[in-house]
Structure formats: C-alpha cells, structure tokens
Amino acid sequence: MARNKEKMVMVLDVGPSMHAVLPEVEKLCTMLIEKKLIHHRADEVGFVLFGTEETDNELTNEVGGYEHVTVLRNMKVVDGDLVDGVQQLPRGTVRGDYLDAIVVGVDMLIKDYKGSFKGRKRICLITNAQCPVKDPDEGTKEDQVSMIAKQMDEKGISFETIVVRGLLSVGADKRTLEENDHLLNLFSIKASAKIVHVQNPCSLMGALRTRHISPVTIFRGELEISLKMKIKVWVYKKTAEEKFPTLKKYSDKAPPTDKFATHDVKVDYEYQSVEDPDKVVPPEQRIKGYRYGPQVVPISSAEWDAVKFKPEKGVKLLGFADASNVRRHYYVKDVNIFIAESGDTRATLAVSALARAMKEMNKVAIVRCVWRQGQQNVVVGVLTPNISENDNTADSFYFNTLPFIEDVREFQFPSFSNFPASWQPNDKQQDAADELVKMLDLAPSSKDDVLLPEFTPNPILERFYRFLELKSREADAAVPPLDGTLRRITEPDPELVAKNKYVLDKFRSSFEVKVNPKLKKSTQRVMEDNRAGGSDEEDGLLDAPPEALAVRSSDDTHVDEIGDSNPVQDFEAMISRRDSPDWIGKAIQKMKNKISGLLLSRPYQEINNSTALDCLEALRKGCIMEQEPKQYNDFLRECIDENKLGDHNIFTRFYRDLASKGLTLISKTEAPDSEVPEDEARRFLLKEPKEE
C-alpha cells in the first residue's frame, strides 16, 4: 500500500493580487482534504503560504532569507483540523516570491521522508505569477530554476503549477508575466512538471485532481497490424466516471447503550417459488434460465462454459477508414488510451508514424480488442490520433468503443423538409438562430475555452463533500445550495447573457412558443405542474416511465386518422400535412364524420358534448385557415337539421353551447370565399329554434 500513499505539499500564493480567488483556492483545498479523508486517509499533506506578512519556515531559521514564506502546516497525515485550517486561509499583504516558496516546500518534503518513501511525492503551486522573482545571489534566475528542477527530478517529486490568468490578471505587468511563464515552463523541461493556466474561478476549482487514482493498464500486449507486424502497446483508461460515493446502509436498531454496535445492515436474499411464495429454494438449487419465446430455457453454468464464446486475447487491426464514416455519437463508452510500451523506442516510432499519418489523411483505425484472456466478448472500436503538443510526451491513440449492429436501433424520424410550413423557421427566425449560435460563444479563442471538461469539476460531488463536512459538525444540517462558483456549470453565465442580451432578446421575440391549449386536461396539468415547478421542484413526473405521462408517441406529421383520444390534435396535424394537397379535404371530411358520430351515435351528453364542440371549433378554425368556409357552413346547417329530429331539450342545449362558444357560420369577413354576410352569421345562432 505504501506505493499508493502520497505526500503532497500545497504551495499557495496568498498575496494581495490573489485575494479575489482565494475563496476558490480555499474550496479546492478543502475538497482535496475531504476526499483524502475518505479515500486516502494515510496521505500526508503540508501547506506553504507565500506573500504573507510574517515569515515562518525552517530554512529562514537555518540559513536566513526566504522571507514572507509561512509554513501553515508541516507534513502530517490528513485530519479534521486541517479542514478548518484551509477553509480560512490568511490573506497576505506582500508580493511573494514563488521560487522561495517552492524551495521551502521541497525542503519540507525531503526532510520529512528522509529518503525512504516509496509513494508519490507531489508539490502543487497555485499562483497568478504576477510578481517578479528576486534575482539570485549567484547565477541567473534560469540557473536557479534548473537547480530546483534537477533536485525535484532526482528525488522523484512531481510538480504541478496552476497559474490563474484571464480576467483575474488584468492590469498585471506583461513583462513579468512573460518572464514567469518562461521560468515555470523551464520546470517541465527539466522535471516531471505540468503547468496549466486557468481563466476563471470555476476552472480553478477543476484544475487540480482532488482524488488520485493510480493508472493501471487494462491491456499490455501487441497491436497486430498483421501477422507480420506488431506494435507493443499499453492501454489505460482515459476517462472513467468518478461515481457518487456508495454509502453503507445504517441500522439504528441497536440500543444506544451498546457501545460495540456495528450498525451494519446485512442484506439477505431468499428465493421463493413464484407460484408458491412459501416454498423457499436454497441458492445452490437455482439454475439460470433464459427466455426463448414464451418459455424459459434452463441452462446450467457448466453447460454455458462449455459452449460460450471464448476469443483469444489480443488487439487486431481490421483496417483504416475515413474519419467521417465514424460519427461522434457512435462512441458508446468511456475512453481508453493506447500508448507505446514504455521504453520501447521502436513501438513509440510506429505509433507516432501511424498517428501522424492518420491525422494527415483524416483516417481512423478500426480495431478488434480482447483485453483479457477469458473475456467473453470482443470489443470493436476506433483508434483516433492523439498528437502530442508537448515535446516530452509521445504520440498516442484514443480508443472509443463502437456499437455492433445489434446495438443500433433504426428508428425512423420525419425529415425536417416534410414538416408543415408553420414548423419551418422563416428567414428572420433563421437569422436570429444563426446569430445566437455565433454570439453565445463559450470558446472565443482556443486558449479561452470556458467549461472545458478537463477543468470543470463535478458540482454534485463538491456539494456532497461539503455537506459531509457540515454534517460532521452538525448532524441535522440542511443540504447546502450549490456552490456559487460552480453555478457557472449549471446555469448560463450572467455576464455572457448580459453581453448578448440583444441577441437573446431577438431570438426570444422571433419565436412564438406556447403550451398547447388543446392538450387533454390531465396531460396539460402534468405539463403545467412541471413548468411551474422551476428548478428546485421535485421532478417525479418527468422521471416516471413515459407510459405514465399518457403522451402518444406517434409523429404529428403522419397522422392520417382522427382517433378518439385527441381528435382535435389529430385534425390539426392532418390538415397541416403538406405532402399532398388532398389532406385538407380528407381532414375536413374525417372531422365531420367524427363530429356526426359524436353527436348522433350516442345520446348527446355532457362528455361528448364538450369533445364535439371542441372538434367543431377546431374544424371551424381549420376551414377559415384553409379557405373552405362552405364546407363548415354546410356541415353546421346539416348538424342543426339533424339535431332537430332528436330530443328537443338536448337540441336547445346544443344550440346554446354553440352560441356560447361563438361557433356560428363563417362569415365573409372571416373568409372571403364565404357567401354568408356577417350579420347573417351573427343572427344564425341568435334566432332560437322556430319550433319553440
């Protein structure tokens, strides 16, 4: 386990120019300690601050110098007190010298382990590198950096620097910045060092890996180009989800007096016969069954083992394909990385040559992988080139798993060009959209990529660890709100929104969006509940299985029947179909049939009544829109005539309902083709049935 242990020194700039981002630095350090307290409890951490008013470090005492560098905490195993310590970092008052601080950090680390530590040794510097470093007593600044770097390299210390830049370094002296960048970059040439620049507080919080996971190969072996040519490679995971911690179940059954209670919960499985729940079968008497049609076929593990697919371990090239043939959305899993076997020059060259040729020709490699002997499936995936931008790292490949035929579901969706005209954006709308896509820009330059996944921490995990810390102090603490800085991940940046107010307003006013008023009551309520819910409401309904939402999945464009559940919608969809001019006529005819059916087939009751009236209303609107007033007018007269034959009371009610909804004849003013003058239309429903 010793190899997995880590000794780490955080070297933090707390000078005046850093004050603005110190809250984020505090959060980052807190998170680091909180995670270590759970996952790496044996790790040791020390804190060195620079830019402080006081000076307090061993080197000053021993040799003098190293002013304004304070050791906040010497190397020590992580504990709860440390969390308190870093949550409120002292604010410094002077411009500190980071080289001094690094030396203090290195010294502290080396003194601590005295040459017999096999784990990882790490120094992490967070600064804005705005203050010039002092000229050394002898030699140049470069010489000094080289010396420190050499020392680090000899002792196997890895060094990371997080340089805070962007908006946070406005007004800094440009020459100093350049000099400092140059000096810090020197480290990465001489030692195992990494330097990252962060542009905003949010990415500062994501810039440091707060939980260390030692890379483990998932495959070591040969990438077979053919039987004649093989390249030795190691495969690692490049991405793997850091899951929300799985918490153990807690039992509160033990009496509070019991000091030795484990509070553990045992999970017990019992296998009962489906037909007879009282009959319990011991686990070893079970056998696996697989569905074959309506039956279940029992197959013992031994039987399976004998016949199961057992491919040979190995990674084989199938061929090269055009990069455009492998679309991005076909990647189905987390990503691996193929690196030439460490120390093998030939393999490194071969990987480099292939990767660069692939990049040049815009090709990708298709490979078939069996990572382990005994693996029961094969993986087909795509290798894409990863050309190194850093002289010290070799070229490599990224590997993404591709789906098999069985994994791809060929659902058909309507073409956008088949949509009715009302669904097609007009030129003005398209302009608004184009502008929005161009202006609401998160990556104005390659250096300034906001919310780059590499620098975006998981806000949920941050919230969990913070809550854990809160709860450890106060058992009934409430769940804290999302961290303010990390809200940039879940909500649009107010600054960006303000800057693009015009574009956003234009987009908003170009598109008319409203909740469909014709939705069935129940569905509509569900929708409204959801809509009113806002961001903090329970979303049970949306998470419910889709059946529960009672939303039909058929595509509006291809409605060709007026059904019972949503006649109005069906009619609207049908009448707006533009794939054939006949649809209008058909839709009107079908709607008429539907309404007659509703009115005549069953007694005219309240339930049908409202549906029929809704339908009639829709039909009226449709006829006006499509310039078919006669169709509607004739039909309405017919309805009235037919209804006269029925029960008189019902007829009067129907008449009244029509009037209340204003469903009178379509007049000339509404549709030029109508032969009904406006006043006649108005009178039509006013005149009470003559028979009365």
Partner: protein, 625 residues
Amino acid sequence: MDLDPEDVFKDHEDDEDSEFFLLRDSTKEFVVYLIDASPKMFTATCPGADGENETHFHIAVTSVAQALKTHIINHTYNEVAICFFNTKEKRNSQDLSGVFVFDVAEREHLDRPTARLIKEFGCVEELFAKEIGSQYGIVSGSWENSLYNALWVAQALLRKGSTKTAEKRILLLTNEDDPFRNISGIAKADMIRTTLQRAKDAQDLGISIELIPFSRPDEEFKVSIFYADLIGLEGDDLIEYMPSAGQKLEDMKNQLRKRMFAKRIVKRIKFVITNGLSIDLHTYALIRPTAPGAITWLDSVTNRPLKAERSFICADTGALMQGPLKRYQPYKNEDVKFSEEELREIKRVSTGHLRLLGFKPLSCLKDYHNLKPSTFVFPSDKEVIGSTCAFVALHRAMIRNQRFALAFYGLSTNPRLVALVAQEEIISDGGQFEPPGMHMIFLPYSDDIRDIEQSQLTTKRPAHRATEDQIQKAAALMKRIYLKDFSVCQFSNPALQRHYAVLQALALDEDEMPEIHDETLPDEEGMSRPVVAKAIQEFRTSVYGEDYDEADDKPRESEASKKRKAAAEIVAQEYKNYDWEELADSGKLKDLTVVELKYYLAAQKLPLAGKKEVLISRILTHLGK
C-alpha cells in the same frame, strides 16, 4: 364471424395512397404463413444451397422454419400461424376443405412462436407423408376452391387484435402461377372473381398479403397470370416484382438475430434556451449495447421460475429493517448519516431540464470527451407549440456554423454537462441512414478524466517522433488496408450471436452446436495479398529497421510469472511420482501429507482449499470413486 366493428366500417379508401406515410410503428406483428402444399410443390425442384435439387416444398418449409427461429428472438411478442393449403386432410376452425392449420399443444393457432412449434415444424415433411397428404384443391367439376378457403382461414386467424396495435400480414408461398388452370369457362371466371374479392376483403381489413413465388429453372413464375391482381401489382411494380421476390425469400432465411425494439420516447425534457423561452424535446435511445437476454432464475428441480426476496437485517440485533434505510459514510472517526431524501437533494440541480449554456466550435469536442452512449433528441410540438420551429432553426444554424451546444442536463440521478451535436438527415438506398436531430453526448468532468500522458512522462529528453519518411510509409499502408464505405454497424456481436445460437440449440434439443462466424476477425487473406504485405513490410522496415527480429524481443516475463511457471513444473513432476488410482483404491490417500495431496489437485486444476478430509474427498470424487 365476429369482426372488429371498427375495422369493418372504417373508411379505407382514403388510406390507399397514404401507405408511404404510414411510419406509425405498430408494436406487434401478426403473420400467417400460407404454404401451398399441392403435389406440384413436391415435384418441382430447383437447385438448393448445396447444389442438389430440392423440392419447392422443402425450401418453403425450411425458410419458414428459419424465419421462425429469428422471429422468436427478434420479435418475441409477434404472433404467427402456419397454414397449408391444397392438403388432403383439413383442420381449421371453419372446417373448410383443403386447408390445414399446423399447430402444437399449449398454443393458440395464432400465437407467439414457441420452441415446441419450431421443433415440430422441423418434422412437418414427415407429417405430410403420413397424415396430412397433398392434393390439388382446385379441380374441374368441383366447386371447391382451396386458395379461397386458405385466404379465408388466414383472415379468420388474423381476426385477433386491432390493426392499430398490430400489423397483420399473410405470406403466401406457392409455385403455382395459375391456380385455376384446371378449370374453364364461367366456373373459372367466377372462382377468380370470388378469390380476388376474398383477398380484397382481407386487404380492406388492414391485412397485407405478400407473395413469395417459386420458379422452376425452366419455367418462370408468371405473376401476371393471376397473382398480380390478387396482391394489386401494376406497371413497373409488376416488372420489378420477380427479382425482388427472390430477395424476400433470402431475407426471410438469412435475417440476423437481433432483438427489435419499438420506438419509444425515453423522456420528455424541457430545453431552456434562454429565460422565458423553453422548448419541448423528446429523447430516444438509438444506441444501447444489447445484453444477452435477461436471466430468470429457476428451481433446478422443478424448472419453475423463482423470485428473489430481499430483506435487510440489522447485524446487531437481527431485527428486520423496514422502509428506506439511512446511509452512512465514515468520516473523521465518526459515522455521518444521510437520509435517502438528503442524498436525492444533493443530486438535484435544475431537475429534468436541459439548460443551454452556449456554443462552441465542433473542434472543442475531443475524442476523449465521452462516457456513455449518446441519446438522440427530437423536438415535439405536442405540448409546446413552436418547439419544432425553434429547434429546426438552431439545428440548421449549428450545422452551418459547425458548432455544438453546451448544456447542463439535470438528470435526477446523475446531472451532467452535455454536448448537443446537430446531425443532418442522411438518406442512402432510399432508407433513412441518419435521422435528423441532435445527439446528446455526455461529457466527463475533470474528476473523470485521467492524465495518462502526464503520468507516462518519465524520460526527460524529448519523446521520439516519427520521421517524414516513416509517416509516408504509414500513409501508404493506410491506403492498402482501407475499409471503403466503412459503416459503424457492419459487425454483428459474435458473443451475442453465439448466445442466441446456443439458446436455440438447447431450446430445440438440437444435437449440434452451431458454429457462428466471427465477423470481427481481420481479413487475413486480404492482409497477405502481395501489395498489402509489401506495404506492411516497408512500414515495418521504416520504423523497426532492417535487422529487427521480434523473436529476440519476446515479451520479458515478469518475476511473478516465472515463479508461477516454475512451481507448476514442480507440481507436474511430483504428480507423476504417485499412482493415484492405486492410492485411492487402497485407501492410502490419508497417509499422504496435505502438500502431497495438493500435487494432485494442482495438476488437475482443482480447488486447493479445505481441510485434509475435504481434499481427499475431492480427489476421490474427481477420480470417480
């Protein structure tokens, strides 16, 4: 016959020209295989798969059997019926002569296919010879019309269910292009008329009739004589029908076993473009790894299904725990407890909504920004009118500007940043190859990305880079091993196909385990073609040098594996020094030490754990004593 009144009175005239637009996805399919069993089917032959002549009847029956075998896996809820006509015996609910509905026990005539059906159908040819018998059902002097009867029986079988929920089909397999050739005069005209009317009636009820004709090498099946009218073929369709019919039969036989899923909306989400403007999107799962069927645990004695009952027991008191349990995390020497509600609350961020944050060029989406399968989103105007229009506008703008949208997706279990990548519709071979819409790609957080490149950084000098010549050689190689028109879905999963094949073999008690062709293996023949081999050799020489021999550079064995090997050798040596059979028979095993006993166990790859008695009994069991 009690027909579904809705079907009978439905206005079908309007629907005919709208067939094309019927993209509605029926969840189920009801199929009746109507197989001609006339003597002509038994006498006419054509060359079969292995070059020998096979009767049309045999081909028809085996094709249907193949189709059933794929059906049972692909569409396990589809229902089928198998029906022969021109038979001596009759068996059908209307008691019509010349029609025989094939079926097995525990099954309705039209029902989901079962293993038993498939198995017994395999012996149907014997059954014909013995029981059912074949004879022409349409002969002069008789008013019997077996084709008419067959259609009627098929239609009756398909009475079940509504055409709204299920697609109904009749597949007619025959080699007789002129079923009424033996009749003449008014009788013939009358029979043709009534049969066509029968077919039309069925079609009017929403049943589609498809014909799978068999031709003899010397005599082509002429669709135009009679069947063109029956299935409603005209003009160009008629000319193209025969070639396409052959393909149909092939399709029926060679379909890939692939579980089919009905198109369904996974979730309805609200896409917040900006404050005050949200549109409605539906998400669909277009790509999801298929796992071999779900496991149902059975009682190995009775083969009846079991259900697992889970219970939580307090380790301290043994009491049964009820309701949602508290969780805890050890932290700073104490247990911090959380309720389920608190844990849910932590994960709750703008729940269920997709919130637009901005746009980035597509080049910002790196190949390693991936965690799980993408989800497809498509707009819907059903609940929010105007959604589609706004979506189409954004979609077009994103494609034009080659940008993707970055958004936060508040999934209640795992809220994440996602990239929305617009995909244009791609049509190839008349089918939709890529639907238009956006793919939602789940992005990793910094916590999920590992900096492997950095951790590999051990050497201080610059890493090796290929020279221009080496890159050129690699490029030349790439041109040689080029997969033209590569499509992501060109491989079937050999493990899954194997699973299905084994399942079928076991379910049907087949003797032989079928061999599954592994399509994912490289084309070794192609790789060894001289031009390819030359390109590989040149690349190899370029990067590895002339004199490089992989044999010198065998993978260095690790210390551990060397030790393991050495130990295995000792065991193998020692194992030979004993006569195990003899020791077992004479009961002298107990005189050996545990170390000695383990020689046997290790050599036989048996477990080494347990006390001495356990080891001895394990050896005895293994020796079969």
